[in-house]
Subunit: 529 residues, 2 copies
Amino acid sequence: MQDIAFPEAGPTLWAPHELTLRGPASGNPFLDVTLSATFTRGTRSIEVPGFYDGEGIYRIRFLPDQQGPWQCRTTSNAPGLDGLAATLDVGPAKPGDHGPVRVADTFDFRYADGTRYLNIGTTAYAWNHQGDALEEETLATLAEAPFTKIRMCVFPKHYRYNQNEPPHYPFALIKQGSSTWPGKVEDAGWEFDLDRPNPAYFQHLEKRIRQLGDIGVEADLILLHPYDRWGFSRMSAEQDDRYLRYIVARLAAFPNVWWSMANEYDFMENKSLADWDRMIGVVADADPFGHLLSIHNAFPLYDWTDKRLTHVSIQRPETEHSLLWRERFGKPVSVDECCYEGDIAEQWGNISGRDLVHKFWLGVVNGGHVTHGETYYNDAEILWWAKGGKLIGDSVARIAFLREILEAAPDAALEPMLDNRNHRIMKYGADNVTGPEMSKPAKGEEDWPKIRFPYPIAHVPGEYYLAYFGQRQPREVVVPTPPDQFYSAAVLDTWDMTETPVAERVTRGDLLFIQPKPNLALVLRRVEG
Amino acid sequence: MQDIAFPEAGPTLWAPHELTLRGPASGNPFLDVTLSATFTRGTRSIEVPGFYDGEGIYRIRFLPDQQGPWQCRTTSNAPGLDGLAATLDVGPAKPGDHGPVRVADTFDFRYADGTRYLNIGTTAYAWNHQGDALEEETLATLAEAPFTKIRMCVFPKHYRYNQNEPPHYPFALIKQGSSTWPGKVEDAGWEFDLDRPNPAYFQHLEKRIRQLGDIGVEADLILLHPYDRWGFSRMSAEQDDRYLRYIVARLAAFPNVWWSMANEYDFMENKSLADWDRMIGVVADADPFGHLLSIHNAFPLYDWTDKRLTHVSIQRPETEHSLLWRERFGKPVSVDECCYEGDIAEQWGNISGRDLVHKFWLGVVNGGHVTHGETYYNDAEILWWAKGGKLIGDSVARIAFLREILEAAPDAALEPMLDNRNHRIMKYGADNVTGPEMSKPAKGEEDWPKIRFPYPIAHVPGEYYLAYFGQRQPREVVVPTPPDQFYSAAVLDTWDMTETPVAERVTRGDLLFIQPKPNLALVLRRVEG
C-alpha cells in the first residue's frame, strides 16, 4: 500500500493526509467499486470513505484530529483494494493549521484547536468556474480582503450575468446544449452521464479550495443550487445521494470546507423538504470529520433546529434579528445573504455600501455573523458576487475595520446584551407589546430607565462592551457596564474608520458626550481599578 | 342681541363668526350658566355651544359652511341670554378661506371647499407657552417652513428640557408648586381651581391658532397629555369632560383646528380605555363643525377604527407601514411621531436628517402622511420639538422639496400601488410567507416578474407615478406604468433636491437607466400620445 502525503510528506495534525491506491479502471468504477478505510487510534475508530479519481486511481483522505500513531485498514469490494493496512504517525500541527471551524460557545465559531475564528464571509458563487486568469485574480483579491469565508458553488451557475460555459463539467458530457438565458433547464438540451463524475472538474475545485486555505479563507461549499441549465439541479434522488457521497469523500479531509446543502433550497422546484432531510442525512453520515453543515433559504426559513445542522445560514435583510434567530434555533446565526452592495436592477443586489456596513454592525452587535456580496454592474458582466474578480465597493474597507475591532476584542464570544424592551419589540412587533409590559424594567434592570441604553450591545461581561448606534446620533449616552468596574470609552466611526477616545475611566451611570453623527459605535474596555 | 364679526365685519363662508353677549358675572358662570345657539338655514339646523369668557362676557362662535341667510336663536338657563335671535347673511368666502380640513378619498385630506391640502406636519408641543418673543420667532420660522400642520398642546408641558413655567395657567391658580424635574405630579404641590378656566390663557391660545391660520398652518391641538407637574393630566372625569366641552366651544369655529385627544394616551396612567372612549364622545358630540379628531399613541396602537375618529395619528418609526395601517383602520394615516431629527439621548429624538427625510418619502409612497420634529440640543434648551424657535436641521429643506414635488403632482389622492409580494412580506413578515405564494404573480400581475418593480410607488392611475428607491440604488428599472400610455421620466434626488430627466417618452416594460445613488425617487408623468 502506497502512502502519499498531501500537501507534503509526513502526516501532521489538522493537515489532510492522502492514501493513493491503484485499482480497477474498467466498467464504471464510480458505481462498481466500494472503498473505505478505518483509522484507529487507541479506542477511537473513524470510518473514512474513499473515492475513484479516474484512470485506475483511488484515494482515501484522512484529516487527523489527534497526534500519534493511527492504524489504517481498507475495505473494498475490489480484492486488490481490500484489507490493505498502514500506520500513520501523526506529528504536531504545522504553523497555521488549526483544523476545521467548529461551533463554540453555542452561538459562535472557533477552529478545532481553539484558535479564534471570525466568520466574516463573502459571496462569489461561481468564481471557480471562470478559467485560470479570473480565478487567480479572485484569489489575489481575497488575499487582500478581510473575508474569512467564501460562499461558492460546486456546480456551475446559470443566471442573469452568468452566461458563460464553465471550463469543465462535473459529469461526463454526452450532448452539448444551449447557453441562452432565460431558459428552462429541461429545454436547454444538455445531457450528461450523471453516473460518471469528471475527476478533472473536482481536482480543479480541490485546487481552489486548497488555495483558499492557504490565505485563511473557509470554503462554504454550496452542494446544490437552482441556477442551472445543465440539469444538475434535477438529478434523481439516487444520483443526488451518490454525488453527495462522492464530494464528501473527496473533500472532507480539507479542513477549510463547510457544507452548505443548498443555496435558496426553496427555489429548487423538484426537491421536497423530505429530499432535503434525506440529503442532509447523507452528508452528515458520510462526513467522518464533522464539518459545519447548514442549508440556505431564499424566502421561507428552514427548520435549522435539525440536530444535524450546525448553524443557521439564513437569507434575510434584517441582520439585527440575529438575536431572535439565535434564540429560535439555538445555534450560531450566519446571515449569508442580507442584500449585496451594488447597483443592479435586482433588489437583493443594489444596496449602498453604507447600508451593507450598517447591516454588518447590526448583525455583530446582535450576536450574528454577516456575509458580504458585491453586485456592481460592468459591461464584461464580471460581478464579484458570481464570478469574483476585483472588489470596487465601499463596504470592504469598512468590513476590514470591523474585523480589526473584533480582533482587538477579548478572545471570547461576544454575547448580545438583552435590552428587554427593544428585544421584545423586535420579537413580537411593537403592535403586540402592551404599554405596561414595555415600560417596566425586567428583573436585574431595576435601575432602568436611569441606565437606559437603547442601542444594541455585544459584550464579554465585565471585560468589553461594543455598542452600535446605527442611524441614531445621540450626543450623550449612559455607561451601561456593571457598577464598580471601570472602563475606557472610545467612539468608533464605522464609516470613516476612526477610533476616538472619549473617556479614560468611567463606570455604570456615567454620562458620555459624543459628537453626533450617524453610524457610530462605542467601545468600552475594562481598565484597572 | 349684539353681533360682532370676527376677525372682521360681515359673516363670510368658512370664517369664524362670533356673537358676544353680556350675562351674569357672579357665582361661577363657568359652572352655573348654560348657553348655546341654534343656527338654522332652510331645513338645516346646527347646535353651537357658547362659553363664558370672563368679566360677564359670553360668546358663541359659528363657522358657516354655506352662504346665505342663517337664523340664530340662543338657549340659556340665564334669562338674559335665553331666546335671543339674530339673522346672519353669510357672504362668499374671502380669498384663502377654505374651511376645515376633512378626510377625502378615504385615505387623504382636503379643505372643506375641495382645495388640496397636503398634510406635512411638524411638532412643537409647547411653543405656545414660551412668551411672546419666542412664540413670535416660532411663527416667523413656520412662515418660511414647508409645514402645513403643527402638533401642539393646550396644556403646558413638564418634561426633560421643559422646566420653565408657562406665562399663564389654564385654570385659576390656588397654590404655587415646584418646577423640579423629574418629579411626580402629585408631589409637585400645585393647586388650581379646575372649575375655573382662565380666559386669558385661552385667549392667548386662540391668538396663536389664528396666527397659524394666517400662515396656512393647521393646529393639531393636543387636548390632554401626560407631561405634567400641575395636575392637568389628573383631573376627574367630570372635570375632563367639562374642560373638553369648554375648549370645543371656544375653538370649534376656528377652521384650522384639529382635535388630538391625547399625546401618548397610554402614558396617562390614570386614564383608562373607557375614559378615552367617553372623552372622544364628549368632543365628537360637542363639536358642531366636524373637525378632524384622533388620538395619538406611544406604544400600543389605539383602535382607530372607532367611527368617531377621522384618521390615524400613529407613533411608529416604520412610516412604510402606512400601507398596512390604511388597510387595518380604513382611514388616512398620519405618522405623527416617527422619531425626530436631533441628537438628544432619547432614542426617539436622535435620528439623522437623512433618516427623517427617508421616513417622509417612505410614508408618502406608501400612502401615509408624515410629521416632522427636531430635537437638537442647545444650552438654552430651546428644542424645536417642544418650544419652537429656529429650525437648524437638515431635513426641513428636503421636506420642502418633497412638498414642491407633491404640489406639482395632479390634484388627486396619491394611492400606493400594491406590489403583491412586498406587500405580503410587510404584512405578515417574510417568515410567514411561503415560497410559492411569494413567487407567483397575483391576478392582474401576470407579466410579473417581467415588470417587476420592487419599490414602493404612489400613483394617480394613468397619470402620475412616484416611486422611491430608498436605500436601494438600482442602475436600471422597468417602467411600471400601464401599457399603451406614454410617460416622461425624471429622477429625483431626495437629498440633493434635484430633478434630472431620464426619458421623454416611455411606457410599460421600457428600461430606464439611472446613475446609482441612495435615496433617489422616480417620477413618471403622462405625456401625449
